[in-house]
């Protein structure tokens, strides 16, 4: 897939991104390297995996990382119940003695996401979500999969990928990932979008939204994100929820009171809502909206 096709595909599925993101994803696909995406929660990291699966018309295999995740949950596990039944059946039917290799064959193997991605008949998209939440030991275990696209199962030997999967790793940067893992990936940082880009995202994701409303909401959210004292800045996902709610309320433009009334869709902690009421308030929103009216930026986005 060339760069232009990828650009058109992203537009087609409604994932609005800048040239830098597009080119990095293109390089990762072309070089068959995993892509490590970092950024604040809600900027579209996980969505990237889903979108790639949609574009490539293939399966999305997702591995959600958490503390304590190990290879039995990520790679493979033997189906012990079935093995046990086989042993018991063998004994009661008095058949000839069962061999160990019969029990540890593919018939009794439970494939977990990593193995499924490697064994897939068609190139799959493997999304390793929130990799920073897993233990460093598991991170080291991922090295083999991500560098050689093969895994070792003691009873079966080394299994190499039939098709090298498209690997997307996401991280919220809760802890520093090891250099070894980073070395195997191309790196992409997704930041909060500029207002103009957010307008495009809103229009792509919320059909029927009024031009003015999309611009005003993007502008207000963009201004809110500039407040460093907010504990949790509103993400793109929250902007979209907010706009959907406003559309459901049949609103075509914002005002200070409406923002204050629907604030809980945008700011998700009590401290942030208190901060908004104290430092910004409906009057502050009106000022932001007035500056929107004065400038020609909105017309540019239409």
């Amino acid at each position: 897939m060339d760069l232009n096709t990828l650009r058109k595909s992203f537009e087609k599925v409604g994932y609005i991104c800048d040239e830098s993101t597009l080119l990095t994803v293109f390089l990762a696909l072309d070089l068959q390297k995993p892509i490590l995406i970092e950024g604040a929660p809600g900027v579209g990291k996980t969505e990237m995996g889903k979108v790639l699966a949609e574009i490539l018309q293939t399966d999305l295999i997702r591995l959600q990382c958490y503390e304590g995740l190990d290879e039995t949950k990520a790679l493979y596990e033997w189906n012990y119940q079935r093995q046990l039944l086989r042993i018991q059946m063998n004994r009661s039917l008095e058949e000839e003695q069962i061999h160990e290799e019969d029990l540890f064959s593919r018939e009794y193997l439970l494939e977990r996401p990593l193995l499924r991605a490697i064994q897939a008949e068609k190139q799959a998209v493997l999304l390793i979500d929130e990799v920073d939440k897993c233990d460093p030991e598991f991170e080291a275990f991922l090295f083999e999969v991500l560098s050689d696209f093969q895994v070792s199962i003691p009873e079966l030997g080394t299994i190499s990928a039939k098709h090298i999967p498209v690997v997307v790793l996401t991280s919220n940067n809760e802890r520093e990932l090891s250099d070894g893992l980073k070395r195997r990936c191309l790196y992409l940082y997704l930041d909060f979008p500029e207002a103009e880009k957010e307008v495009r995202i809103i229009k792509a994701k919320v059909p029927g939204v009024a031009d003015r409303l999309s611009w005003e909401t993007a502008r207000v959210v963009s201004q809110l994100r500039r407040h460093e004292d907010l504990r949790k800045k509103p993400s793109i996902a929250e902007t979209l929820d907010w706009v959907r709610a406003l559309v459901a309320l049949n609103r075509s433009r914002l005002d200070g009171k409406l923002v204050a009334d629907t604030l809980n869709l945008l700011l998700k902690t009590h401290a942030d809502q208190q901060y908004f009421n104290k430092e910004i308030g409906p009057d502050g929103v009106e000022k932001i909206l007035k500056s929107t009216d004065d400038g020609g930026d909105m017309r540019r986005c239409q």
Binding site: E38, E77, Y187, Y275
Partner: protein, 440 residues
């Protein structure tokens, strides 16, 4: 699209290797793999498109958002437009020519009995870079020596040594001045040589200015999160506890034909750990007050069961103020201005005794105590005893000392306390980061 086959364009490969070397000097952990990745990435982009060229390199070479600023700065200096490059070459040629002329002039100036002194090009360049006054003085010295009584040609080596020593002295003096100037500029708000975050990271925390506080606060919040993750990470304990793990039991007993002889249990997770933060707010710590407040607030943001105390001559529970806070100003108002401790003398011993007496519920085997203090206290022996008792009650004591590490040997209290509890420097955010990412 202009494509290059990998390894064929040795000029580009050489340039890229030099570029990677420069990034390494900035602390980016880059190996040959990254260089190969970068070359492969460049094969796939239009080399005449500067933006695409930059993005491709960044995707392959930069693995953390923190390094973006360094990458951008070096890229913009290293990969320049052809006009700029030509201009630089012309300037370089011109500079070389001027240098040659200056060396010739210096050679002509520095003579003894009609013959040039045996000086290296570097020494002659140093002479050229000196002020007119300094050059005149050196020439005058040579002239006086030359015309003195009983001066013979065999004095030449001696004279050369004197001149060389003087030039060496001037060079050292100039380099020191350059370094100080550069350091001074680094502190300035308009410094463009390094990124703001990097400046703040390396800066003594007492010297962080109010304009840099938002960045410092952000960095401290990130570090607090890391610290919390490190301390609160729940480890597995021995196999004898926890609920029955049927899967592992069956697997382990497969060798007995499925008859379960050995029971396997699920590893039990430890319950959530607690952090108790104890911050010294006495007069000697006043210069670090902003750091202390931000550190407290940063930890508060990420640790749900954080207890926060300040101490000087007595302890004060700040947890309610921090939990109900709404912004830095409020915390400063309630914690600093209304505090009985702020700016007082330090009595670590009595403070720790009071902590154990008044707040016994906070101190148990799940508690990690973080003390932020410069260790300067009265009655060090009493403090030591109280510290030992506290150490017996809690899981771990971590001491973060904001004093510069080179000053630690000057204080007896630092040496004594460091021998009893683990003590780490936190004079700069970079040091704190190093401790948290590696050694702690």
């Amino acid at each position: 699209m202009e494509k290059i086959p990998l390894g064929r364009d040795s000029h580009l490969t050489d340039n890229l290797a030099t570029f990677v070397e420069l990034l390494r000097c900035e602390g980016l952990p880059l190996g040959t793999t990254e260089l190969i990745d970068a070359l492969q990435a460049l094969e796939r982009v239009d080399l005449s498109d500067r933006t695409a060229f930059k993005i491709a390199l960044r995707a392959a070479l930069v693995k953390s958002q923190r390094d973006f600023a360094a990458f951008n700065r070096i890229f913009d200096h290293f990969f320049v437009d052809f006009d700029v490059y030509q201009n630089r070459v012309e300037q370089s040629d011109k500079y070389q020519q001027e240098q040659q002329e200056q060396i010739s002039l210096a050679d002509r100036d520095l003579q003894f009995k009609g013959e040039s002194l045996q000086l290296s090009d570097d020494e002659l360049k140093q002479y050229s870079s000196m002020t007119q006054d300094e050059r005149d003085r050196l020439q005058e010295f040579l002239h006086k020596t030359e015309t003195g009584k009983n001066v013979e040609p065999r004095f030449r080596p001696l004279l050369e040594n004197v001149v060389k020593s003087h030039l060496r002295y001037c060079r050292n003096r100039d380099s020191e001045a350059d370094y100080n100037k550069a350091s001074g500029e680094g502190d300035g708000a308009g410094s463009g040589s390094t990124s703001t975050d990097q400046n703040i990271r390396e800066k003594d925390i007492e010297a962080v200015r109010s304009s840099e506080m938002p960045s410092a606060e952000h960095l401290l919040q990130q570090l607090s999160r890391k610290l919390a993750v490190k301390i609160l990470r729940r480890r597995r304990v021995g196999p004898r506890s926890g609920a029955l793990d049927l899967r592992r039991s069956i697997r382990d007993n497969m060798r007995f034909g499925g008859v379960i002889f050995n029971l396997k249990r699920r590893p039990k997770r430890r319950s959530k750990q607690q952090i108790l933060l104890l911050c010294d707010v006495s007069a000697s710590m006043k210069q670090y007050s902003t750091f202390v407040i931000h550190f407290m607030m940063g930890l508060q943001d990420v640790v749900r069961n954080l207890s926060c105390f300040s101490f000087a001559e007595q302890v004060e529970n700040l947890t309610p103020e921090l939990k109900g806070r709404s912004g830095l100003q409020h915390v400063l108002e309630s914690v600093v201005r209304h505090s009985k401790n702020w700016g007082g003398g330090t009595n670590l011993g009595s403070s720790l005794e009071e902590l154990s007496r008044k707040y016994p519920d906070y101190l148990n085997a799940k508690t990690t105590v973080i003390i932020v203090s410069d260790t300067r206290t009265v009655s060090i022996d009493r403090a030591l005893k109280a510290l030992e008792k506290l150490d017996d009650r809690v899981k771990r004591i971590i001491w973060l000392n904001p004093l510069p590490i080179e000053r630690w040997p000057d204080y007896r209290s630092v040496n004594i306390i460091a021998s009893k509890v683990e003590m780490w420097p936190c004079n700069t955010i970079a040091q704190l980061e190093e401790v948290l990412t590696g050694r702690l």
